[in-house]
Symmetry: C2
Subunit: 453 residues, 2 copies
Amino acid sequence: MRTKIKQVLLAKEPSRLEEKEVIVTGWIRTVRDQKAFAFIEINDGSTLTNLQVIADATLPQYAELMTQLTTGAAVSVEGILKKSPGKNQALELHATKVHLYGACDPARYPLQKKRHSFEFLRTIAHLRPRTNTQGAVLRVRSAMSFATHLFFQQRGFFYVHTPIITGSDCEGGGEMFRLSTTKPSEEFFGKPAYLTVSGQLELETLALALSDVYTFGPTFRAENSNTSRHLAEFWMIEPEMAFADLKVNMECAESYLRFCVNYALEHCAEDLAFFDQFIEKGLLERLKKVAHTPFAHIPYTEAIAILKKADRSFDFPVEWGIDLQSEHERYLAEEYCQKPVILTDYPAAIKAFYMRQNPDGKTVAAMDVLVPKIGELIGGSQREERLDILERKLEAFKLKKEDYWWYLELREYGSVPHAGFGLGLERLVLFITGMENIRDVIPFPRTPGHAEF
Amino acid sequence: MRTKIKQVLLAKEPSRLEEKEVIVTGWIRTVRDQKAFAFIEINDGSTLTNLQVIADATLPQYAELMTQLTTGAAVSVEGILKKSPGKNQALELHATKVHLYGACDPARYPLQKKRHSFEFLRTIAHLRPRTNTQGAVLRVRSAMSFATHLFFQQRGFFYVHTPIITGSDCEGGGEMFRLSTTKPSEEFFGKPAYLTVSGQLELETLALALSDVYTFGPTFRAENSNTSRHLAEFWMIEPEMAFADLKVNMECAESYLRFCVNYALEHCAEDLAFFDQFIEKGLLERLKKVAHTPFAHIPYTEAIAILKKADRSFDFPVEWGIDLQSEHERYLAEEYCQKPVILTDYPAAIKAFYMRQNPDGKTVAAMDVLVPKIGELIGGSQREERLDILERKLEAFKLKKEDYWWYLELREYGSVPHAGFGLGLERLVLFITGMENIRDVIPFPRTPGHAEF
């Protein structure tokens, strides 16, 4: 049985592992040949730090072995764990047997021991998970995905799968990809079919049966935007709650976000320390603050007043009715509130048709969670549950009632107040890691012109 | 704060809830008007069983209320929990206040209290989650999804997302959907793009960096098959392990399946009892057996001999080299072994190019897990990690090396033995629930001609 490097280096009581015989497998990061022995650093992806292996020159075939043990080579090392005299690790492995699985030609391997630009690494997406940064990103991404399931399952939500392929091109919210088969003349589904931009409408059918549900799956946008915040394919988390109003929705979003931050602080401490040191100075402090401070709450109308009074100028002029730009959102979260803030009650005209109309007739029960560093991280609303108002909204938005027959029936048969929100996993990972470009927090980014691998 | 019906009816110590004041919300399943009072059964989806509410005729506006409280209507009920004299439940709710959220016209509501065929219910997929069977299926589906994450996270696997949109049409394993945008003349990704049929090839890049990974996402087949076992869109779980051979792979698959069965038996007891009573008699016994009996292991060559000796005839003749049909697989699992069986070492010609060649030169280190009731539930293999053999396999399969440049590089730079498998979530849910048709275990099934909702 092999031991994972995480079990050695993150052991609660390393001293109990001293003198233990173990087998460790992994890929070589560096070798320092000291003639009488060599230091070999190996990594198996289970944790950020490499395990230091001491290979003595008395090992069988030592000279030949040393020509093969190069950066990137895969090995298994049998040996005895010893207290390390170095101060970087508690334990090191004294090899009794080194086995080479697969060599790695130093003249050809693109990942030599030096800093590579993130742009370059995207061109070798099949190898970049072997770098420190990508390894850490992927571990945090996995932890945030699991934390999401934990949070909602603990609260009694059911995980449901809304369809990826949809027959309706009318979900709102962006350009869609269209499907065809190898016989383009035939429609596989009997009519045009598209890739979903959001599971929300279908999710409501499940909330109005199971009460609390969430979906977590890929969504798509066929938009030609080349920014550090947009992908053509990304993963979205969408909870939906029956018998819930905007207040319940806000509490859920805030608790969820805080749960994720705490989960990362607790389970990804080593990776977060790495990001704090090399990617965003002050990351840990920022996250700890989010974990401990209640979010601010500001109605949109008040936010507009705050922005107008701000002693700085914005590229986009501020007027009641505008869709807030990233500069406005970040001012509110980073400068004015200096913590996450939930904006509520947006003008009806700039929000989707399904958001619940407020008594003032001008605004809807929408909410956006804005956070320092990212801007909008979560968008949600209470949904319009009143059939007559929803029908009027469809008309006002020039949408056809026939296309929404089943969505309208939810309001006809046992309608209830309900609410939900959506959060893009990649933006959450940017928020937690301090990474700047969304292409660097998903293993195989899809953007205009790019669907390699 | 509302109380979910599950918290009342599945309470460990119901007696501690007696005389407690609670608010419960849900949808009415039935009303029995007894003049002096009414029995109202309500369900909120949190659990299978309805909560019995006693509404006394002395409630304000009782007569008017009774005209509105019909099957499908949404209500909140405030009241006091009392010990129930009936034997079907420990507690019942004596209403002090009934609030109607949304009525439900009995003349129009399609879900009246009677048995509906599963075929009919598929035409109202937006309402069918409100039926007993669909509610139970969805709860089990959620539990199996979460159990999957729990199992792999506890074993130190990282959850990774392989791409849904892929630029390669050469993954093997079935017809693919092709993407286009509203401007069909332009390629959004600069070249043709497709929907993935499996994340495995990309998954291997992540296993060869993080050691143990899994993916869980939608996959697609543009095949015109109208069977009770096939969907155009389904969810697949794919683990991949570095430093692992077929033996490790088999252990993982067996442990995973047993974990899921045990999780269902423990966390979905009420729903499984329902399936055992109404869907498949003997279900619980079948599942308990899977939970407690080690799986059988039979090499393909031996399985062929067993099938040839079987005292029954098959529609498809049995010869070494054939791809086993469902009738063969079910005979082996249901009759010969009477428990799950792992078949190994299939002929190279009937398996994918990436499976590892055995020393005999004729077979590959493949494994299929066959289970009673379903047939093949899991398919996997050790992967070919030797560059020269993999290149020869590509040639033999008439596949172009250029298309696999990055996949081949994994064998050039630090190659290691690795293995993995794939399991369709919907087949797992069929296996756990005893349901017969795959269209009834996914909320919005996509099949040829069908992409409604």
